[in-house]
C-alpha cells in the first residue's frame, strides 16, 4: 500500500517535469510579519513563474505544520485565480505535507480537489473537520450556512455574522473589482469571493477574502481629497488609517450618502459583543477591533486584496 502511494505521488510529480518548486512556509499566517512576508513573496514568485514564464509550479507543503485560516484562505484564493488564468499545459502541483493534520486540512478546504489531485488524508481530526469552505462569484446568502456547520449553539453574535458576511459579499461585488488589479502577472481580476470558517477551543473564526484592489486603493481613487487629508496625519499607519476611516459612517468610495454603510454596520454589530473581534487586512493595512478598542498597523507588503476575520466566543454547550 505504501509503495503504491509512493508511486502515485512520484508519478504526479513526474507529470510536472521542469516545474519549479516553491516551499510553502512552515506557518501559514498573515499576522506574523515574518511568515506574512514569506507567504506573499512566494505567491508573487509563483505568479511570475506560472503566468509570465508559463512554467508549471509545485507547491511543496512538506515543511508546513501550522495553518491559520487567514494565511490559508489567501493562498487558496490566489491558487484559484492562478489556476483560472494558467494556460494548458502549465499546471500547479503539490508535494504533500509530511504532517498528517496539514494533509487533512488541505483536503478539507478543497485544495486537492481544486488542483485535480487525488488522494490526501481523509479528514477525521476534530479541529480539521470543523473547517468549512465556500466561494462564489455573486452574493449568495445561503452560502453563509456552510460556514456555520459544526456550530451547535448559535447566538446573537453569530446572527450578526450573516449581515456582516453578506455585506462583505456585496462590498466585493460593488467596490473590490472597480479598477484593474495592480499585479506582477499582467492578468486581471478573478471576480470571486472566498469564505472559510473554523471552530476551535470554543471559538468560531470566520474569514472572508476577495482579491480586489483593496480598501485603501478604492478610497484613494474615489475620495482623493479626503484621503490626502487623512494621510497627512497618519504617520506610519497610512493604509490602516484608511481602513479605519472606511469603518466610520460616510467615508464611502462613492460619496453617495446612501452608500457605504456596510463596514460601519459590521462595527456596530461587533461592538455589541465583548467576546468578539474583527480584523480587517487590506493591502498593507491591518485594523483590529475588539471590545470597543482598535489597533492599527501597516505591514511592508500588500496582500493584494481584503480579508475580514471575525472571531466569536461560542457559548458553552449545556452539559
Amino acid at each position: 500500500m505504501k509503495k503504491q502511494k509512493a508511486r502515485k505521488r512520484a508519478s504526479s510529480e513526474a507529470r510536472l517535469e521542469n516545474a519549479k518548486t516553491f516551499r510553502v512556509p512552515a506557518t501559514l499566517t498573515l499576522v506574523n510579519t515574518q511568515y506574512r512576508s514569506m507567504l506573499i513573496q512566494m505567491i508573487e514568485k509563483i505568479k511570475v513563474e506560472l503566468l509570465i514564464k508559463r512554467r508549471s509550479v509545485v507547491l511543496d507543503f512538506t515543511s508546513t505544520s501550522k495553518i491559520h485560516v487567514d494565511g490559508m484562505i489567501l493562498l487558496f484564493s490566489e491558487v484559484s485565480r492562478l489556476k483560472k488564468f494558467a494556460d494548458s499545459p502549465v499546471k500547479i502541483g503539490i508535494k504533500m505535507p509530511k504532517r498528517g493534520k496539514t494533509n487533512q486540512v488541505l483536503r478539507q478546504i478543497g485544495m486537492y480537489q481544486l488542483l485535480g489531485i487525488a488522494g490526501g488524508r481523509m479528514p477525521r481530526d476534530k479541529d480539521v473537520v470543523s473547517w468549512n469552505a465556500t466561494s462564489d462569484s455573486t452574493a449568495v446568502g445561503e452560502k453563509f450556512e456552510t460556514i456555520l456547520q459544526g456550530v451547535k449553539t448559535e447566538n446573537e453574535a453569530t446572527d450578526g455574522l450573516y449581515i456582516s458576511t453578506t455585506e462583505s459579499m456585496t462590498n466585493a461585488m460593488n467596490h473590490a473589482y472597480i479598477s484593474p488589479r495592480i499585479t506582477s502577472d499582467n492578468h486581471g481580476h478573478l471576480h470571486r469571493w472566498w469564505m472559510f470558517s473554523q471552530v476551535r477551543n470554543g471559538e468560531l473564526t470566520v474569514v472572508f477574502c476577495d482579491l480586489g484592489i483593496g480598501i485603501p486603493a478604492s478610497l484613494r481613487e474615489k475620495r482623493p481629497t479626503f484621503i490626502k487629508k487623512l494621510v497627512a496625519t497618519a504617520m506610519n499607519e497610512v493604509e490602516s488609517c484608511i481602513i479605519e476611516s472606511a469603518t466610520k459612517p460616510s467615508a464611502t468610495r462613492t460619496r453617495l450618502e446612501h452608500r457605504g454603510k456596510g463596514l460601519p454596520e459590521m462595527i456596530k454589530h461587533l461592538d455589541r459583543h465583548k467576546k468578539a473581534s474583527l480584523r480587517i487586512l487590506s493591502n498593507m493595512g491591518s485594523f483590529y477591533r475588539s471590545a470597543g478598542q482598535t489597533k492599527k498597523r501597516d505591514y511592508n507588503e500588500s496582500i493584494g486584496g481584503t480579508l475580514l476575520i471575525w472571531t466569536i466566543q461560542l457559548e458553552k454547550e449545556p452539559s
Binding site: T138, A139, V140, G141, E142, F144, D159, G160, Y162, I163, T166, E167, M169, T170, M173, N174, E257, H258, K261, G262, E265
Partner: protein
C-alpha cells in the same frame, strides 16, 4: 387593497445585495418585483420575520430606493407601507433610510 408580503416566504430567506448584478435576491429585485407592484395596488404589509438577516445594502436599496429613484417621491406612500418585525430596530432602520432620502430629495 392590502398585500401581505413575507420576505422569507415570498422572496427569499437569504436576501443579500443591493443591485441585480450583486446576486439573485437583491434589494433592487425585491423592490421592483414585489414591493412596488404591491404599493401601486394599495397597502403593502411587509413582514421581515423568518429572514436570516437584513444587511443595510439590501434594506436601503429596497426602501430608500423608493424615494431616491422617484418611484414614490412623496411622503404619503408611507401611509400605505406597513412594516412588521419582532425586531423593532429593524423597522426603525428601514424608516430611517426612507426619511433620509425624503430629506435629500427636498
Amino acid at each position: 387593497m392590502t398585500t401581505q408580503i413575507s420576505i422569507a416566504d415570498d422572496f427569499s430567506r437569504y436576501p443579500v445585495g443591493r443591485y441585480l448584478t450583486d446576486g439573485p435576491y437583491s434589494g433592487e429585485r425585491f423592490r421592483d418585483e414585489i414591493l412596488v407592484p404591491a404599493l401601486k395596488l394599495g397597502q403593502a404589509v411587509v413582514d421581515f420575520d423568518g429572514g436570516r438577516g437584513y444587511g443595510s445594502s439590501f434594506l436601503e436599496e429596497a426602501f430608500g430606493g423608493l424615494v431616491r429613484l422617484k418611484i414614490f417621491p412623496d411622503e404619503d406612500f408611507q401611509e400605505r407601507l406597513v412594516l412588521k418585525s419582532s425586531n423593532e430596530s429593524l423597522c426603525a432602520e428601514v424608516r430611517s433610510y426612507i426619511d433620509d432620502e425624503l430629506v435629500r430629495s427636498k
